[in-house]
């Protein structure tokens, strides 16, 4: 290729990618833009990105006070943290047993993990709903957390990683006097940090964003996680008062977007691995 051709090709590449990129980002830009504008400007047909009169403070204040948005966010943090912690506590030892301990029934057990991996959560919603009702945890944090405390994907991912750790390391640890459980915490998990990180991202992203399950088991705003919260807020704001609503959406989306920008590579690797289960 000649030099001018190269420059032309590069220009075309950037032109196309910038166009598709701005189309992809348009909803985000529009969201932030509306969240800054006063109601009057929403209806003006001359659209601008930035408002003529800044209304950001009012919109965000209304979003944070009228709807219990901080509460939703706190719920999201509590639920995601509890789920992730329990998942790791339950899945890592199981994955270690499947990868490094020889016991009768290991294959059968791995078969159950694979079956669990196969079943989409929505299919199980009904019996789990009944289970939560039966346990009396309907409309509590427990209902949001309990169905997810074991993650077949987590077991699968950790098992893959643990299997790649040489047996000699496990043997050395046993000789050094570590119990099986301390081998998991002190040796296996620290050696599998990429897997832990990838799994944490998958877990937090999917539960922060989940709507289906919270919609079923949570009725009071007190326990609503962010996604359900913002939908409830939208339904309450029946009018076209988009300012506070978009401010709310921005607040809900922001934590993950900021984390994503900070740790792009990990997010992409983690979420890709997560969808390849």
């Amino acid at each position: 290729m000649t030099l001018p051709m190269k420059i032309l090709a590069g220009a075309v590449r950037h032109a196309i990618l910038l166009t598709t990129g701005s189309l992809v980002l348009a909803p985000f830009v529009w969201m932030v833009s509306l969240s800054l504008k006063p109601p009057a400007e929403l209806f003006s047909s001359s659209f601008t990105l930035l408002p003529q009169h800044w209304f950001a403070v009012e919109n965000y204040a209304r979003a944070l006070t009228e709807a219990p948005l901080p509460r939703y966010m706190l719920n999201g943090v509590i639920v995601c943290a509890a789920i992730l912690l329990l998942q790791i506590m339950i899945c890592a030892p199981a994955a270690y047993a499947l990868a490094k301990v020889r016991f009768a029934g290991r294959q059968v057990m791995f078969g159950f993990v694979l079956i669990g991996l196969l079943i989409p959560h929505q299919v199980l919603a009904l019996p789990l709903f009944i289970l939560c009702y039966g346990l009396g945890i309907f409309n509590t944090y427990a209902a949001l957390i309990f169905p997810f405390v074991v993650s077949p994907f987590g077991i699968f991912l950790f098992r893959q990683f643990f299997m790649s750790i040489p047996d000699d390391i496990v043997h050395a640890a046993r000789l050094d006097g570590l119990s099986e459980l301390s081998i998991v915490w002190r040796i296996m998990l620290p050696m599998s940090l990429p897997a832990v990180l990838a799994f944490s991202i998958v877990s937090v992203v999917s539960h922060w964003n989940d709507l289906f399950w919270p919609l079923l088991v949570v009725r009071s705003q007190e326990f609503m996680p962010p996604s359900l919260g913002i939908v409830t807020f939208a339904n309450a704001e029946a009018g076209n008062d988009y300012g506070p609503l978009m401010a709310g959406a921005t607040v809900v989306v922001a934590p993950l977007v900021i984390s994503f920008l900070a740790a792009q590579r990990w997010f992409i690797e983690g979420l890709t691995a997560g969808s390849i289960k």
Partner: protein, 397 residues
């Protein structure tokens, strides 16, 4: 502490009738072996013969199908690995990559001297005595590291170390808790040739200094020959011979052991007994001490250094065509095709003779007054005594 008291007892290792199969494939077959306190015993055998498996069974990392293990006179079959007072150095070193050298070395001590509560990250530090014990551990780690010359590496992670340094850390981790028995599984096989020779000396020196029992696994005969008090040769899951390096070399129990030890390999020639004390081999006649039945066939084992050039053919002299010679510095290896053998005979000759040899010339090799080994058809050595070649009087004079 109790384990340390036990150190005073004689910490020999008795292995009794150990068998082990993996998925019904027998790997170990009734291994029995007594290792004396303070002995350096090497398990030598080709890859895959089950050496590591036996070592792991001694350590308690693998469960034998039958048989018992005693350490210092105590049956340890039901003890967990950490209760057995043995330490192991792995071929891959098995250092924890996420811990520093000092953490790696401190871990076995921490697990033994600190309670579960004391080991907890924050709470542990607040408990009484944690600090004192930790400081004590630290001192011991530093002392061990100094002894191995790795004290400047204590803050590094294993990934930042060279192969030799990692090897030393692995030894240090085993050493720091003063075990009664050291198990080493091919600890030098991942090092380059030069470092291997150096570490060989260091491990031997370590054994002398500590005076405890070492069980050392290798497939490298040089390591086995240079380091061991005794060598246990393992073949196909059985012990073929247990003896001192000298004996193993001079009086191998069978043909496979003879083949395993010695470099270049021992020459093996098919021979037929003709009459009392006389063999035909490769078209030549050979006089031996043994009384063999006339017509029986045997295998003759001749070490390369047992051959020397001769002027002419005759009794105890093999004749063949020279394929080529190899110079290896101090020696010359002559590869000679002799009748009745597809592989060339290898003779170790003095370098000064190099100019005497050209490819394709006919050479005569006299079997020297060294040991010649005779093996029966089933591979065992014939007779307890040495099968000496009777010297030709005329030639000797």
């Amino acid at each position: 502490m109790a384990t340390q008291m036990m150190r005073n007892a004689l910490a020999g290792v008795s292995i009794h009738g150990i068998s082990k199969s993996f998925d019904s494939a027998p790997i170990l077959n009734g291994i029995s072996l007594d290792i004396r306190d303070g002995e350096f015993l090497t398990l030598l055998g080709p890859s895959g013969c089950g050496k590591s498996t036996l070592l792991r069974i001694i350590a308690g990392l693998e469960q034998q199908d039958c048989g018992t293990i005693e350490v210092a006179g105590v049956k340890v079959d039901r003890l967990r690995p950490k209760q057995r007072d043995v330490a192991m150095v792995f071929q891959s070193y098995a250092l924890y990559p996420h811990m520093t050298v000092s953490e790696n070395m401190a871990l076995p001590l921490k697990m033994r001297r600190l309670s579960a509560w004391q080991r907890l990250p924050v709470i542990g530090a607040l408990l009484p005595k944690t600090c004192a014990v930790s400081a004590e551990i630290k001192t011991e780690v530093v002392r061990t590291a100094k002894a191995l010359g790795i004290d400047h590496l204590l803050a590094h992670k294993p990934g930042q170390l060279s192969g030799g340094q990692r090897q030393r850390v692995a030894v240090g981790r085993a050493m720091v808790r003063h075990p009664a028995v050291f198990l080493m599984d091919e600890p030098l096989s991942n090092l380059d040739a030069k470092l291997r020779v150096q570490m060989r000396g260091e491990i031997k020196e370590l054994h002398r200094r500590l005076g405890v029992t070492f069980i050392y696994v290798t497939h490298d005969q040089t390591e086995a020959m240079t380091m061991s008090d005794r060598i246990a040769v393992m073949l196909n899951g059985q012990l073929a011979q247990v003896a001192s390096p000298r004996q193993i070399y001079a009086c191998p129990a069978d043909r496979r052991v003879a083949e395993l030890i010695g470099s270049p390999k021992i020459n093996l020639l098919e021979a037929t007994a003709r009459s009392e004390g006389l063999l035909t081999v490769a078209g030549s006649a050979l006089a031996v001490d043994n009384k063999l039945d006339s017509g029986s066939s045997v295998t003759l084992g001749i070490r390369p250094e047992s051959l020397q050039p001769a002027e002419w053919a005759g009794l105890n002299t093999l004749t063949g065509r020279l394929r080529y010679v190899e110079h290896v510095g101090a020696d010359l290896f002559a590869h000679v095709d002799v009748p009745g053998s597809s592989e060339p005979l290898v003779a170790r000759l003095p370098v000064e003779l190099a100019s005497n040899f050209q490819s394709d010339q006919i050479v005569h090799l006299q079997i020297r007054r060294e040991q010649v080994l005779l093996f029966s058809a089933d591979g065992r050595r014939v007779s307890e005594g040495d099968a000496r070649v009777t010297p030709l009087r005329s030639y000797a004079q």
